[in-house]
């Protein structure tokens, strides 16, 4: 297949119901974002799976990696006071 035919990759996110977050469902290739939106409607929402679709150019996404966790997330582990269960309350009101 001809190299010039390679279309950009879009990541697709769908809100399945009002009140819920958009969730990543997959990806597809399209020439532009309008076309990506139409394709996404055809392939990811054939059974009313969604009320709203986001399409995002995959190349525009900046992501952290799990292996980077030590420098990226680790600080939380030594901050137990950020968690509710760190605080021990007397029995009568402990369901707070």
């Amino acid at each position: 297949m001809n190299q010039k035919n390679i279309l950009p990759l879009y990541e697709i996110f769908i809100r399945s119901k009002r009140g819920l977050d958009h969730k990543h469902v997959g990806s597809l290739h399209a020439e532009n974002s309008e076309q990506a939106l139409e394709y996404a409607r055809d392939v990811y929402t054939r059974r009313s799976e969604g009320v709203s679709i986001w399409v995002v150019l995959a190349s525009d996404i900046t992501a952290s990696q799990e292996e980077d966790a030590s420098s990226f997330y680790d600080p939380s582990d030594d901050k137990p006071y950020r968690h509710a269960m760190h605080y021990v309350l007397p029995e009568p009101i402990n369901n707070m």
Partner: protein, 319 residues
């Protein structure tokens, strides 16, 4: 910032540990080259099967007996195209390009389920494909929902949600046929006679003869062996054939009280090898047709691209 202190052996051990712990492998994780290669082979083969599988059924779209059946079949065939996309997307997360995968299909380097190399001769074949071929695919895909590679597992979940409709519409259309005229019932029986054995072949060679099985099970790419999936399929399908009043073309098929499973006859492995290796009834036709659809659609993609470039150029000029 991560791996360079770890040797390949250590990385591989961590990778296997993650799999043993039932954690998913995600696209950017370190993985052995052979795991990646094995997955790309399996997922792209699976994607090609969904797409090539549209052809034998598409063959009957214009001749469906009622408008209702036509709409159902159209929806099913459209689903299969969607399944192909979900799977190609999953394979692309491993660094395979769509173009590369399609080229491999056209050049015969990539395979697809050999069942789609059999022709659909009558309308009863369409119901039978939904019942048996989608039925067999479901048995396989349900187990693959637990495959170790995250994007593949998620694609399987999505696909399984849609497959149940495929099998049920097929079975329902066979119910209509077996309750119809003698000719219609005979047509249903004839379709079962032709599709039964190829359906069993869909699960691949015996475990002992399966080239990729051992490693795939260890990596949890596959969760159940070919033979045990095939047994599941036979066990669930025999009562369904009985209900239709159709006869499964296997004289050795018999309930085995001791095993708690049906015993069944041996597959014609020569036929299997012949069709897999390109000499089935429709192999050349299927690939030729796929290539033609690709080529015939090129002008649409070219036009879209030209329009997009023009729009961008105009926007730049205006800015």
């Amino acid at each position: 910032m991560t791996h360079f202190e770890l040797s390949d052996a250590e990385l591989e051990q961590r990778f296997q540990q993650r799999i043993d712990d039932e954690q998913k492998i995600e696209p950017k994780d370190w993985m052995p080259a052979a795991y990646r290669k094995n997955l790309i082979r399996q997922i792209s083969q699976h994607a090609h099967s969904e797409v090539i599988g549209m052809q034998p059924e598409g063959n009957w779209l214009s001749r469906a007996p009622t408008l209702q059946r036509k709409m159902i079949l159209l929806a099913k065939v459209q689903d299969e195209g969607g399944h192909g996309l979900y799977l190609y997307s999953a394979a692309e997360t491993l660094g395979a390009s769509r173009e590369e995968m399609v080229d491999a299909l056209h050049e015969g380097r990539a395979k697809y389920a050999s069942i789609f190399n059999y022709p659909t001769l009558t309308w009863a074949d369409i119901g039978t494909i939904g019942w048996l071929v989608d039925g067999a695919a479901i048995v396989n895909q349900i187990s693959l929902q637990r495959t170790s590679y995250g994007p593949y597992a998620r694609a399987m979940v999505r696909i399984c949600k849609e497959e149940s409709f495929h099998q049920r519409q097929g079975y329902e259309s066979l119910i209509a046929l077996v309750n119809g005229s003698d000719e219609q019932k005979a047509m249903a029986q004839d379709a079962l006679n032709r599709w039964w054995w190829p359906s069993l072949m869909m699960f691949g060679p015996h475990d002992a003869d399966s080239a990729h099985s051992g490693q795939s099970m260890k990596w949890k790419i596959k969760r159940k062996s070919n033979d045990s999936l095939r047994q599941d399929f036979v066990d669930q399908t025999v009562p369904q054939a009985d209900f239709l009043g159709l006869h499964i073309p296997d004289e050795e098929l018999k309930w085995n009280e001791e095993r708690g499973h049906y015993d069944f006859g041996e597959i014609d492995w020569e036929e299997f090898a012949r069709v897999v290796n390109g000499d089935g009834m429709c192999n050349r036709d299927r690939v030729r047709h796929h290539k033609k659809a690709q080529d015939d659609g090129a002008w649409v993609r070219d036009a879209l691209r030209a329009y997009e470039q023009k729009k961008r150029a105009n926007a730049e000029k205006a800015a």
